[in-house]
Amino acid sequence: MTATLTRVNRVPGLLPGLTFLIILVLWETSTRVFTIPTFLLPAPSRILEGFDAVTVSRWLAHAWATLRVAMLGFLTAIVVSLPLAIALTRFKLVSSGIYPLLVVIQSTPIVAVAPIIIVTMGSGDVSRVLITFMISFFPLVVSMTTGMKATPDELIELSHSLKAPAIREFTQIRIPYAIPYIFSGLKISVTLSVIGAVVAEFVAAEKGIGYFIQFSTSLFKIPQAWAGLGILVLMSLTLFQIIAQTQRYFFPWSLPRESK
């Protein structure tokens, strides 16, 4: 029995796939057996029908709108985090001056700030990207800074003893050393960026999956709202996997031993 179990475990995705299938079957039967009203919990089959509510090209347009904002926010987060993390690592003054501020920003519920941002910055892309950025950048800064600070002192002393240009302490030692940390941060941040984009669409948008869900629920078209949710989950999972596979492919040395 245990032997079969370990063998099952070795096929990637088999166990979670099976679990998911079982849940779907339970879900479908229970909605039918207990006749749960669709607006409370639509059966998976009804949600599948919900995908037919709009054309494929409409779906793609909505998905693209969300993905675009999420990616712009995510990229902005990366571009801002890296120099910020370097400054936080390099300069004590920056670290003690800015870090508390970052924590304040992180403690602020951005969802509540979103409407304010839309009012002051307008309902354009800039606001949506800004909201996404604010939601997704904190874990990146923290993971990058932690990684760069976790570099062994000996290597930094080696760098100093060579009188190497200070920039190389980062490009050749600290940043590569932070790679495992950076990827943990990227994985969290990329899923947060999808959340950020949806939050922004809830506040002000005329397309995007977030907008579509809100629009559908306002018309009580619950199955198609669930279908939209399914697409968001799929989007997050795909982005997460892209990051995970990038690390596996380009930085295999940075993976913990068991997962090689």
Binding site: P152, E154, L155, E157, H160, S161, L162, R168, W253
Partner: protein, 263 residues
Amino acid sequence: MAVNTNVTPAIQFTDVEMTFDTRAGELIALQHVNLAINDHEFIAVLGPSGCGKSTLMRIVAGLLKPSAGTVSVHGENVVEPRDDIGIVFQKPTLLPWATLEDNVVFPMKHKFGRVTQEQRERAHELLKLVGLASLENRRPGRLSGGMQQRVGIARALLHNPDILLMDEPFSALDALTREEMGYELQNIWQEHRKTVMFITHSIVEAVLLADRIIVMSHGPGAHVAEDLRVPAPRPRTGDSMRLSEMQDLVSHLRDILMTKKVA
């Protein structure tokens, strides 16, 4: 000691004092340290934990400035890190993403931004010297501690420094590997005759490897308490330890270190 006064020592400490600002106030780690290390000499530094051995080494390396006094290398005051010094750390701290060869040439890549073919060939020779030539394209991930430290030694030797500073380089290794590495280091030293400043906590290691043993006194305000010549001829083996003058030396060192007789 019969030092030819016409020869400038490889390393000279003159009245060195090192004070650290700590939360608990000023800490005088070193005080009145006077020591001359000759060219091609292998010096072992022993002393109680926390007395300032690593600090001594960092000052020679130009990583720390003494609060008072001077340290000179080949007659020049040390004001910044020098190119003719190689450092081996307690932990080898290799770059996990680089192959062993890339790790050995890393100092060049780091300092100059590029690595020449000659330097790569030299890295290959050094890895051969430490017995790792067959693994040069592997990453350090699964290497044993001893193998990693061998790479660390090769890395320190790459730019062919005159002086090698080693801060407890074998202390993280198991007893057998440690002994083996000691003999290997002796071989390397006999072949290349660097000036070596070797910090250790092991009396046996010090006695086996060094020409001279420096015993530091207890901190704060640690200074050179004893300066002892090791009598046995080279190459030293396990048998060298059976010489009665070696045993006397070992028990003398044990005496002063264990009973904290070092004033």
